[in-house]
């Protein structure tokens, strides 16, 4: 080490030596793993390319206005959505972060933090570029772009996402707050595009064509490089308080994902969101017993209007399904949209499901506690489902007398699916383990991944088979049984 303080390169070399000393894998094992990884990647990629090419052929034959509009608008919407997604993910994690161990052991030493962070910024940018470029290339292929334009468009969207990561890093270093606003603006633009599609109101001038993307690629690349240069220069500004939160988030999320426990991912994100908010304006309660719990749900909705905004913005999807001619499948789309878009409404039920100690504080049966927590979010979701009624009636060609019961059935199915999802228990490692490429896993691991979607299919099946009042009644009855079982579980 130099007399001026430790050099990061020397520390890294030392850490590498220690790690090599503890290596428990031989070169042949590593090569074997690499072979499996390369083979799996090649196989999945060839499958994806095959699907894209087939869909491209089918999409090329569509002649209806909604279909051609959708094909023309798809690249714009995908590009905007990918950039918004890149900004959101970058903002969630930092994008610059260090693991808790690095935060504790290296950031407290006088090492050059810029040297530590520079490779991480490059890696993050490269991942964002590669993922966005691949997805965008696939989408542009569906839109009928020629091969050269596919490459240019993919590169353009990749560069835009790289730019987004650079911007996020600059905002993080300079403690600028407008990144979140920009993310919401882009998301709103995507939503407006979907609304235009649903209303068959896509302006002809907005149609994306396979020309001109080379210029856009050059512009996006220049901007991305300029932003990354700025971001590199700003790395020295980053403090430990800015780097540590993302690093603590990663182990929690990766642990939850390793167990396919998506509800735990939700818990981690909810916890982080409220921790960042720190304080709220307290609102005193109303009512006694179960109604006091229900009143708290009203307070929660007022406190998190974004959850309602997302839910009602998602109304566009069933209408879009109608516009694209999905037919009966629009019933399934509506139920799935209600299920996924309303997860944020049911946070208290989730907390009570994972925390028996809270339920023990309340002088009500567990079923009464869960029902009280469910009342307000369920009512909101049913109102949402009723708002999909015109789309369902049109899409599935329903009689007016059948449309309302079907909309109610869609709402109840969504409620049952959400309750199944939020009240799920983590994978039980006491169960018999089965061999898998990930190692030995409990059988409940796979069940937990399908949780919620199983009830969604169960409740939607009668609607798809018989889109009538009778089908709605059967669906509601099945959902009722599921809800009764879930609410009365010990």
């Amino acid at each position: 080490m130099s007399g001026q303080g430790p050099q990061l390169r020397e520390l890294r070399q030392q850490i590498r030596v220690w790690r090599r000393g503890r290596a428990d894998k031989r070169l042949v094992d590593a090569l074997s793993d690499a072979y499996v990884a390369v083979f799996a990647t090649a196989m999945l990629t060839s499958m994806a390319v095959s699907v894209v090419l087939n869909v491209r052929t089918v999409a090329g034959t569509c002649t209806t206005t909604p279909c051609t509009d959708a094909r023309a608008a798809l690249p714009w919407l995908t590009g905007l959505a990918l950039v918004a997604g890149a900004l959101a993910v970058a903002g969630l994690f930092g994008p610059m972060l260090v693991s808790p161990a690095v935060g504790s052991w290296l950031l407290s030493t006088p090492v050059d933090r810029t040297a530590l962070l520079r490779p991480r910024l490059a890696g993050t940018g490269a991942v964002a570029f590669a993922l966005a470029a691949v997805v965008a290339a696939g989408v542009s292929a569906l839109s009928g772009f020629p091969v050269e334009a596919i490459a240019a468009y993919g590169g353009c969207v990749g560069a835009a996402c790289l730019l987004a990561v650079g911007l996020a890093a600059v905002c993080q270093a300079r403690r600028l707050r407008w990144l979140r606003l920009l993310t919401w603006v882009l998301a709103a633009a995507v939503w407006a595009g979907l609304v235009a599609l649903a209303l068959d109101a896509v302006p002809a001038a907005a149609a994306a064509t396979g020309t001109g993307w080379e210029v856009a690629l050059v512009v996006a690349a220049v901007l991305a490089v300029a932003t990354l240069v700025r971001a590199y220069a700003d790395l020295a500004r980053l403090g430990r308080d800015q780097l540590a939160p993302g690093g603590t988030l990663v182990p929690g999320l990766s642990g939850a994902l390793a167990g396919l426990d998506f509800a735990l991912v939700y818990d981690v994100l909810v916890e982080r969101r409220w921790r960042a908010r720190s304080t709220v304006r307290s609102v005193r309660g109303r009512g006694v017993g179960g109604s006091a719990l229900a009143w708290r749900e009203v307070v929660r909705l007022r406190r998190s209007p974004g959850v309602l905004v997302v839910l009602f913005a998602a109304l566009v999807l069933p209408y879009l399904g109608d516009s694209l001619g999905l037919g009966r499948a629009d019933l399934l789309l509506a139920a799935a949209t209600g299920f996924l878009a309303s997860l944020g409404l049911f946070s208290s039920l989730r907390v009570l499901s994972r925390t028996p100690s809270l339920v023990r504080c309340l002088p009500l049966t567990p079923a009464a506690v869960r029902s009280a927590c469910l009342s307000v979010p369920s009512a909101v979701l049913l109102v949402w489902a009723l708002a999909t009624e015109p789309a369902l009636q049109s899409a599935a060609g329903l009689a007016a007398t059948d449309a309302v019961p079907l909309a109610v059935a869609v709402g109840v199915t969504a409620v049952a699916a959400v309750v199944r999802w939020v009240s799920g228990r983590p994978p039980d490692y006491q169960l018999p383990l089965v061999t898998s490429p990930m190692g030995a896993v409990p059988t409940s691991l796979y069940v937990s991944a399908a949780r919620g979607f199983d009830v969604l299919v169960l409740g939607s099946a009668p609607l798809l088979l018989a889109p009538t009042s009778t089908g709605a009644a059967i669906s509601i009855a099945l959902d009722g049984i599921v809800l009764a079982v879930l609410l009365n579980r010990p």
Partner: protein, 216 residues
């Protein structure tokens, strides 16, 4: 003249056994706790103190034995059990989006406490969490979270207090307050069952001590 039947003890435990695999973590525990009295469970780490408390509060199911509160079998799903027994264990968690005062307010109202606001304000003041009343639990220190957990037991009606190491993470002023508060609870006719490593707390509050080390 007929002899008046004496009331059952507030808490009666008979033959409580909890086995994990082949190991009896606790075996054959008998315990009577009268109203207005406190029993302390002491012992080294792993002696089974928390296991006994979890079985008593019906958070865990004993392998054998019975637990009765005022002559009625304790059941986790029974609202009566949860109405009469205030439990503060180490696994207490909170709603991430409700503030300190909102948690207490919710518990008080769920228990139909008359004049809930006044009760909550008084307890909040007592546990010295007034400045943090609008704070969300995720931002509280561990000591403040402990006080909030204890406060949740005091804003609601109760006949029996079950406390697992209530002194944990409290500062010396907090410990003094706790001793004073538990003495008042006893004077008001409550039964207290606590597990503790703090000899001064046990000495100041407990009427009898069950040493789980002596039993193993």
């Amino acid at each position: 003249m007929s002899r008046k039947k004496s009331p059952p003890p507030r808490l009666r435990v008979r033959g409580l056994t909890r086995r994990f695999g082949d190991v009896d973590v606790v075996k054959g525990i008998d315990l009577d706790l009268k109203a207005g009295a406190a029993v302390a469970l002491v012992g080294r780490n792993g002696a089974g103190k928390s296991t006994v408390l979890r079985c008593v509060s019906a958070a865990d199911v004993p392998t054998a034995g019975t637990v009765e509160l005022d002559g009625v079998k304790v059941e986790e799903r029974s609202p009566l059990t949860r109405r009469d027994m205030a439990v503060v264990m180490d696994d207490m968690d909170f709603f991430p989006d409700l503030s300190v005062v909102e948690h207490l307010d919710l518990f008080a109202r769920a228990h139909a406490v008359p004049d809930a606001e006044a009760v909550v304000d008084a307890v909040l003041h007592e546990v010295r969490l007034v400045p943090q009343s609008g704070q969300l639990p995720g931002t509280l220190s561990s000591g403040q979270r402990r006080r909030l957990a204890l406060a949740s037991a005091f804003v609601r009606p109760r006949k029996l207090l079950v406390l697992d190491e209530p002194e944990a993470r409290l500062d010396s002023a907090g410990l003094e307050w706790l001793v004073e508060r538990l003495r008042r609870e006893k004077a008001d006719g409550l039964g207290i069952l606590l597990a503790s490593h703090d000899a001064s707390l046990v000495e100041a509050v407990a009427d009898s001590v069950l040493d789980l080390d002596q039993r193993s």
